[in-house]
């Protein structure tokens, strides 16, 4: 297939994943803001905006962190070039670029979701509508992934789509964890002390892992449990270990299809060592923040190498 088309597929799925992760983050923030007092709610919205890396743009336009301005900023504000409406527009225009490499079912899933979202986000989103919007974004992701799974040939197009998903998802989970890692610190000094469960409940919700975590840990939230789950648990589809494993498999499949390995496979091998045979204690010894920064930069390097190996741009 064309390098440009592969690039379209890769980015179509990165943007789709980004939109979905943003929606989850908003959803968790909303829940938190509703259950806490006003000051905590403000703190919460600040944290959501920071996690998205949009603090500077937000503060240029708004004095305070309040629910409606925060979610409208994230969802549709033109002052925020990474708003969800734009993001979903990018999903669709990349799908158009890759139109000949995706199934009609997939195209229709993207196009229909885009039509719905674009109209929902054409006006400011009210308190009563925001839940609906967030659900629609999540469903769009589910639908497109379902169409990918059920209607696409397992050829390179499929693996580029998957690679885009996991590069983006890995980055998102790592960032969310990094934004909140300071919350883990007090507990490291008193091992065994329980954490602010509300905060961690929110983090877990924002990666769709709250009930899985509860099930695995009998509801006990502590630093080791969190790191074990979000970083190392290969069963949880948004953990760093899972994303890296899935990315590895898709890169291996691409190398098989093309009959050669490239820079991305090489980077993958050395990145694998970072997580393989690592325990939560090793990570605490190294420093969680340092570990995450290293993870994020390796992930980004792999993403770039994919583009070079398969001639996305030149």
């Amino acid at each position: 297939m064309l390098g440009r088309t592969a690039n379209g597929l890769f980015w179509m799925f990165r943007y789709l994943e980004r939109a979905e992760n943003t929606a989850r983050l908003l959803e968790a923030g909303l829940r938190m803001a509703l259950t806490r007092d006003l000051t905590t709610a403000r703190e919460e919205w600040r944290s959501v905006i920071s996690t998205l890396g949009q603090r500077r743009q937000y503060e240029a336009g708004y004095e305070d962190y309040e629910g409606p301005s925060a979610w409208n900023f994230v969802l549709r504000d033109k002052a925020n070039p990474a708003n969800v409406r734009e993001m979903f527009g990018a999903v669709r225009s990349n799908a158009r670029v890759a139109r000949t490499s995706i199934s009609s079912e997939m195209w229709e899933a993207v196009n229909e979701s885009w039509m719905k979202l674009d109209s929902m986000l054409s006006r400011p989103v009210s308190q009563s509508a925001v839940g609906d919007v967030v659900t629609t974004i999540r469903r769009a992701g589910t639908q497109v992934h379902g169409a990918l799974d059920g209607s696409m040939l397992r050829n390179e197009a499929y693996h580029f789509a998957r690679a885009g998903t996991y590069v983006e998802r890995a980055e998102s989970t790592a960032r969310i964890l990094d934004m909140k890692y300071y919350l883990l610190l007090p507990s490291l000094n008193h091992v065994g002390s329980s954490l602010d469960s509300g905060q961690w409940d929110q983090v877990l919700r924002s990666v769709a892992g709250a009930s899985a975590y509860t099930w695995l840990n009998a509801g006990e939230i502590d630093a080791r449990g969190i790191v074990q789950f979000l970083v190392l648990d290969e069963r949880f589809p948004r953990s760093l270990a899972f994303c890296r494993g899935a990315l590895r498999d898709n890169l291996a499949a691409l190398a098989r299809i093309h009959g050669r390995e490239g820079g991305s496979n090489e980077l993958m091998r050395s990145a694998d060592m970072q997580i393989a045979d690592t325990s939560a204690d090793d990570i605490f010894d190294m420093g969680l923040h340092e570990f995450l920064i290293d993870y994020i930069s390796r992930n980004a390097a792999i993403g770039e190498a994919i583009g070079e190996d398969y001639r996305f741009l030149a």
Partner: protein
């Protein structure tokens, strides 16, 4: 003109009796609940939006993508009518190819004094660097769209030849898909020729024109200006349906004397390029130096047998409306037969006598620019205001050779579905014609364009026209 009662209506005789072509359809129609039909009608739009069959409109930010309105009443042509039409179309397309070959070679037709040399010398679509070069298989018009209008039971006329880059074929295909999804039972009651294999026929026809340097199965690619082009949907659709790559200029490069596309595993040669960009943008080294849509050096590769470009560069010269006016002579010159499909009577304003007649009769005539298309820059005398006519007269007098004039035809009508039931509207027809060394291939059907406004004769989608599914009945 435009009065429904004096027009030939394709569904009904003047006394209301249904013509044979529509008997089965009308029987079905009468059995349907009108409220259900109304609901179906609004569903059609929704389905087009969902599948993304839209065209882009430039300069409109918010309504960037528009639908071409679809009417759910089919346009029906009998098997016998179609057979007659295809004979005429085939003859015309053969003549067009022979004419283009001749223009770029010995120019016998000019030497014989049958068409004047100035006709193509002044034509911007004429490409001197095609002179003496024979495209692979000798084919110029790989894909053409011949626009036909009807005025009576056996009276079809050619209104225009589109050999440059005829568009609209995706509507022929999607209109049928939509009709079959909406009214499956209808198709079990009326035997209609299928159009759905057009992309396969196109791929086969293009492959048969592979260049000398092609090795193995020809690789076909569709060249699009990109996702912001108004016909991008069609480009992607055709590439997808043919199993061809959809490329942009930036994907292509000349490597080792071949045009190659950048794939995920390096550069791979393209054998046949179905280009949907104009000649001017094809090769910045030869034509527009600023073009980013094309491929530097592609013309050299072309001339050395490394690629087939469809349609051949320089083909657009035959779309000229002044050349159109000579088509009866052209057909006769190359086929030795009288043209089976007549032209619409045409006055060339370059001729003094014709000009005088046209100026005297502007209120009755349709006047068109010779290089114009899309229904722009024309005057429709009978519906124009006095002021329009005055302004046009001045333009015509200043530059007569830029215009031709035709009588206002009494175009046939075909019913459309409206809130108040069926209502007749004017239609035209564009069948799509494929040419290769193996022969001429015409898919039974085409694009029927319909003027949605009562009495209007303008069917162009850019000016409020819609489309219909076109049925050719089986014998």
């Amino acid at each position: 003109m435009g009065d429904a009662q004096t027009n030939f209506d394709e569904m009904k005789h003047a006394d209301g009796e249904i013509r044979p072509a529509y008997t089965d359809y009308c029987k079905w129609y009468d059995e349907q609940d009108p409220r259900w039909l109304k609901r179906k009608n609004s569903e059609a739009d929704e389905s087009f939006r969902r599948t993304g069959i839209t065209f882009n409109v430039y300069g409109e930010d918010e309504a960037e993508e528009r639908l071409i309105p679809f009417d759910m009443v089919p346009r029906v042509i009998t098997a016998g009518e179609w057979r007659r039409l295809t004979r005429g179309i085939e003859q015309r397309v053969r003549a067009l190819n022979a004419f283009l070959y001749d223009l770029y070679h010995r120019q016998e037709i000019i030497r014989a004094g049958r068409v004047p040399e100035r006709l193509f010398r002044n034509n911007a679509a004429w490409l001197p660097n095609m002179v003496g070069f024979t495209p692979p298989g000798g084919i110029y018009t790989h894909i053409s769209g011949i626009d036909l209008v009807r005025t009576g039971p056996n009276d079809f006329f050619v209104l225009e030849d589109n050999a440059r880059t005829p568009s609209g074929v995706s509507y022929m295909l999607e209109n049928r898909e939509t009709m079959m999804a909406m009214f499956p039972d209808l198709f079990s009651r009326v035997a209609v020729e299928s159009v759905s294999n057009y992309p396969r026929r196109l791929a086969r026809s293009l492959a048969a024109c592979a260049p000398p340097k092609c090795e193995g199965t020809p690789r076909i690619a569709v060249l699009t200006p990109g996702i912001y082009n108004s016909a991008y949907f069609e480009h992607a659709f055709l590439a997808d349906q043919m199993g061809a790559e959809l490329v942009e200029g930036s994907d292509l490069r000349v490597v080792n004397g071949r045009v190659q596309m950048r794939t995920t595993s390096g550069y791979t040669p393209v054998d046949v390029l179905y280009r949907r960009v104009d000649d001017d943008y094809l090769d910045p080294l030869t034509f527009e130096p600023d073009s980013v849509l094309g491929v530097p050096g592609i013309m050299d590769v072309y001339r050395s047998g490394g690629i087939t470009i469809a349609n051949a560069p320089g083909t657009g010269v035959s779309d000229d409306k002044a050349i159109y006016s000579f088509m009866p002579e052209i057909v006769e010159f190359y086929t030795g037969e009288k043209a089976l499909l007549p032209n619409v009577e045409t006055w060339r304003c370059a001729d003094e006598d014709s000009l005088a007649y046209v100026l005297d009769n502007l209120e009755e005539l349709v006047v068109k620019e010779v290089h114009g298309s899309g229904g722009y820059g024309m005057l429709i005398g009978p519906t124009a205001t006095k002021k329009d006519i005055r302004t046009f007269r001045a333009k015509l007098e200043a530059n007569p050779e830029n215009y031709i004039a035709q009588p206002t035809l009494s175009l046939s009508t075909c019913p459309i579905f409206t809130a108040k039931g069926l209502a007749p509207r004017h239609v035209d027809l564009r069948p799509f014609v494929l040419a290769s060394p193996k022969g001429i291939d015409i898919t039974p059907g085409g694009l029927t364009r319909v003027a949605l406004k009562k009495g209007s004769l303008v069917v162009n989608s850019s000016q409020g026209g819609g489309t219909k599914d076109t049925w050719v009945l089986k014998d």
